[in-house]
């Protein structure tokens, strides 16, 4: 069964450094998402992406964040200058076209900022 894959599974970075989280969505999906989950809290939306542009972004997704689909298979989330509060699990998700289609999630990248 097709699945969303994310790398790395764990990333440890010094505060102020740039980090890139990578995702390979399911191949025939066209809608892509990033969510994050701080330990013990809800899964919360960061950004949605369709047709090579951002569809919607949350208040969390400020100028330090960016997303890119550099080729036909990868979808990346970049944090330019990491902060301690960026420590969280980051999940990539994708879905196919059509209404009411479920989003399928990867197993996440655990980002630890020191």
């Amino acid at each position: 069964e097709p699945e969303v894959t994310q790398t790395p599974s764990h990333q440890v970075t010094q505060m102020g450094q740039e980090v890139i989280l990578r995702c390979v969505p399911i191949s025939n999906h066209l809608y892509f998402y990033w969510y994050r989950q701080i330990l013990g809290q809800k899964v919360e939306f960061l950004v949605s992406f369709y047709n090579n542009e951002i569809s919607e972004k949350s208040e969390i997704f400020d100028d330090q964040f960016s997303v890119e689909r550099p080729d036909g298979s990868n979808f990346t989330l970049k944090i330019r200058s990491t902060k301690l509060e960026d420590s969280a699990m980051y999940f990539c998700a994708s879905r196919t076209t059509g209404g009411r289609q479920p989003q399928h999630f990867g197993d996440g990248t655990r980002l630890s900022i020191l």
Partner: protein
């Protein structure tokens, strides 16, 4: 603002002891409701989509139901392998974004 509230936060059951998890939601125009299972250190795994009040979906020991204000996930004769956090989510957002708003989840523990 769209909101999803799940209860209880945690539930301990003995193997074979049936129970239900609740998800109540406040959205402007329901576009469906999703149930996910999340194991520790993993991403949410899709279980069910419910579209309209009165709808039911089943998968093994799980049955999900939907009313106009809440959804229930019924677990019949659970086994230890059903232990996980169960998440409820509703799609919202502009245009085709369909971002998901999640509840905090119910952590289910099934003891042998």
């Amino acid at each position: 603002e769209d909101q999803v509230t799940q209860s209880p936060e945690a539930l301990r059951l003995q193997e074979g002891e049936s129970s239900s998890l609740n998800c109540s939601y406040t959205v402007s125009g329901l576009r469906g409701l999703f149930w996910y299972r999340q194991d520790p250190g993993k991403g949410p795994e899709f279980l069910f989509t419910l579209y309209s009040a009165g709808e039911e979906k089943e998968k093994e020991r799980l049955k999900a139901t939907l009313t106009k204000k809440e959804s229930f996930l019924h677990i019949t004769a659970p086994k230890p392998e059903d232990s996980a956090t169960y998440l409820c989510a509703v799609p919202t957002g502009r245009g085709g974004s369909e971002k998901l708003v999640f509840g905090k989840g119910t952590k289910l523990t099934v003891n042998p």
